[in-house]
């Protein structure tokens, strides 16, 4: 038994190591365009994991995610830059994440009391308020033109183009190559913490809140406290995503942090599968990479006009929106548990087929997985 456990554990370790190695390879083989897609995807994945925790696990809809991304991005630019205190960038990044958490905390009197879809409406206000402040508070945010983002430096190493040429294994390391590893580290940290949360006491309490508030309360879960904590944690992940986005963009502008961005994040977690970290990541990559790829290959795609061509034609960005709109409809109709659920079912099928071929009498068939997200009914006292 323990032998088997050990083997399973080493196999898991091995797989993780392999994954880490594969994820470290792109800077050595791919050009800046692909690296930027990867970086945007990583930032989106971090934010999407945060939203998945709030909407997927705790069942609290939020349309204010763009606001917290903006707090993170602008917070970093202000803390580290000029005008602003000009703090060391690493400290500024940390403070920006905490600031996003604090902003979430300020909203928690609402987030603790309002539930489900109603919280979605309440958070709408945040996006409009945030957008307005970004446009008008010129001295801090730079107004309509935004402000430039100082590069992150850690112990003398700059995650940006710098004077000291850096060449690793014959590959010159520019801003994208360096940021790639920062993004990977932040992304790994997000996975580690979010999965830790989901698989332990707070995660179970949040899932219970979603499935039945009454059951959660009588089992000892402080409903209001957990609702606001979920909101704060989700805001902090959004803040972290904002910091990474700011570093990749090198400039933050108010128009990026609009309601559309919040909706994009919702699309990510729905396509990926609500409430799972892997699903949120897959959805984030899909929603982020699709428009960028379509823009790049617009001339080779049928029915898609090149960017900036005649009016009335469907540009690549619009086409990407149609595509992921269709993806959402398809997911909701045929795979309510998203890409994550699809992958899990496919994995189960492969495993079952494999275990069927060598007739092993000791092999106990695993219980069948539910085909769709079956959820017990809500109790109303």
């Amino acid at each position: 038994m323990s032998d088997r456990l050990l083997k399973a554990l080493t196999r898991r370790r091995g797989r993780l190591l392999l994954l880490a190695v594969v994820l470290c390879l792109p800077p050595f083989y791919l050009d800046a365009f692909w690296l930027r897609i990867g970086l945007f995807s990583m930032a989106a994945a971090i934010g999407a994991v945060g939203l998945a925790l709030l909407s997927g696990t705790a069942g609290q809809l939020s349309l204010g995610h763009a606001f917290f991304l903006a707090v993170g991005a602008y917070g970093y630019a202000w803390f580290a830059g000029e005008p602003g205190p000009g703090l060391p960038p690493a400290l500024a990044a940390l403070l920006a994440v905490l600031l996003a958490g604090a902003a979430g905390g300020l909203f928690s009197p609402v987030a603790a009391r309002v539930k489900g879809i109603y919280l979605g409406i309440a958070t709408l206000a945040l996006v409009f308020l945030g957008h307005h402040v970004l446009l008008t508070a010129d001295s801090v945010t730079g107004g309509f033109n935004g402000r430039s983002v100082p590069p992150l430096t850690l112990g003398g190493f700059a995650f940006a183009e710098s004077d000291s040429e850096l060449t690793v294994l014959g590959v010159p390391f520019g801003a994208e190559e360096r940021l790639w590893f920062l993004g990977l580290a932040l992304f790994a940290f997000t996975w580690f913490t979010a999965r830790g949360l989901l698989r332990s006491r707070p995660g179970r309490a949040l899932a219970a809140l979603r499935d039945s508030e009454t059951a959660a309360a009588v089992m000892g879960v402080d409903v209001a406290r957990h609702r606001s904590a979920a909101f704060v944690v989700s805001s902090m992940y959004a803040g972290l995503a904002g910091v990474l986005l700011a570093l990749v963009f090198r400039r933050v502008v108010p128009d990026y942090f609009s309601l559309v961005l919040s909706v994009d994040y919702l699309a990510m977690i729905v396509i990926g599968g609500l409430g799972s970290v892997a699903g949120a990541t897959a959805g984030a990559v899909f929603v982020t990479a699709l428009p960028l790829l379509m823009t790049r290959y617009a001339d080779q795609l049928p029915l898609v006009a090149a960017p900036g061509s005649a009016e009335g034609a469907v540009g690549p960005t619009e086409a990407a929106r149609y595509l992921y709109g269709a993806a959402i409809v398809l997911v909701l109709l045929y795979a309510p548990d998203g890409l994550h659920g699809l992958a899990r079912r496919a994995g189960d099928r492969v495993r079952r087929r494999r275990s069927r071929t060598p007739a092993d009498p000791t092999d106990v068939p695993s219980p069948p997985q539910p085909t769709a997200a079956a959820r017990p009914k809500e109790h109303t006292p």
Binding site: L197, R201, A208, T214, A217, M219, P376, K377, P381
Partner: protein, 267 residues
């Protein structure tokens, strides 16, 4: 891990509790006392106020008048999660489990007994992991005790009705309760499932010495398990006593058991 099980449960006292829902009086000056370590049955026809009474006891519903005290603590002003922390656990009439495996549900029952917060869990601190491991062991024990051992890692949604009902019981037990409120624990079960649950409840009471408040339509089960019976009808207490006394009570026969008084009720 927990010293609550070693001490005798305190007295649960319900005094003159009145609950009104917009003109309808669901409970009208109801009083009863659950003596420590006893099984106290609450019976009555549908709509008599049994479930409302449970909602008052677990803090989901606030009484307009009257008090509920456990030992020296007044429960009627506390939030549900505080009442749970005092060791009052309940099950629901219609099954209320959460998404996930049996283990997930039982570990939810350990919520009030565990401490790991958001930061400790996110960073997977050793203290949080140790706590989780220890409590998972206890949850497994409780699953074995209630006959759910082999389903421990199965998703709840795939279990049979009777098993899901038992998950609720096991989850309540995971709270290491001093007072256990069971709302129709055997409703919809077949004969062997009923017998098994009755046996578990009997064992629990003998081993853990906890007080049980039971709402049940299965008269056979009530008469076999209960020490005291309180009969409600239209929110009022119409009789009280030992099962035998209640069985003889003409008021009960009229209001609850009907004219033929066979003691069987279609649950």
């Amino acid at each position: 891990m927990n010293d609550r099980t070693t001490t005798a449960p305190p007295v649960l006292e319900v005094r003159d509790v009145t609950v009104r829902f917009a003109g309808l009086t669901a409970l009208d000056g109801v009083s009863f006392t659950v003596t420590p370590g006893s099984v106290h049955a609450l019976i009555g026809p549908n709509g008599a106020g049994k479930s409302t009474c449970f909602n008052v006891l677990s803090g989901l519903c606030r009484p307009a008048e009257g008090t509920v005290t456990l030992g020296g603590t007044e429960l009627s002003r506390l939030a549900p999660h505080r009442i749970a922390a005092l060791g009052v656990a309940r099950t629901f009439q219609n099954i209320v489990t959460t998404h996930g495996t049996v283990a997930d549900n039982l570990m939810l029952g350990r919520h009030a007994l565990t401490r790991a917060g958001f930061a400790a869990s996110a960073l997977r601190l050793p203290s949080a992991r140790r706590e989780q491991r220890e409590h998972l062991d206890r949850a497994r024990e409780i699953a074995e005790l209630t006959g759910l051992g082999r389903h421990f890692d199965s998703p709840v949604a795939l279990l049979s009705y009777g098993d899901r009902k038992r998950v609720e019981l096991a989850r309540a037990l995971c709270l290491e309760p001093r007072v256990l409120l069971l709302d129709e624990p055997v409703a919809g079960m077949n004969a062997s499932e009923r017998a098994r649950t009755a046996q578990v409840v009997g064992e629990l009471r003998a081993e853990l010495g906890l007080s049980v408040v039971l709402v049940e339509h299965d008269m056979g089960l009530v008469m076999r398990l209960a020490d005291d019976v309180t009969v409600l009808d239209f929110g009022r207490r119409i009789a009280h006593g030992t099962p035998d006394e209640v069985r003889q009570d003409p008021e009960v026969l009229r209001a609850y058991l009907g004219t033929d008084a066979t003691g069987e009720d279609a649950a």
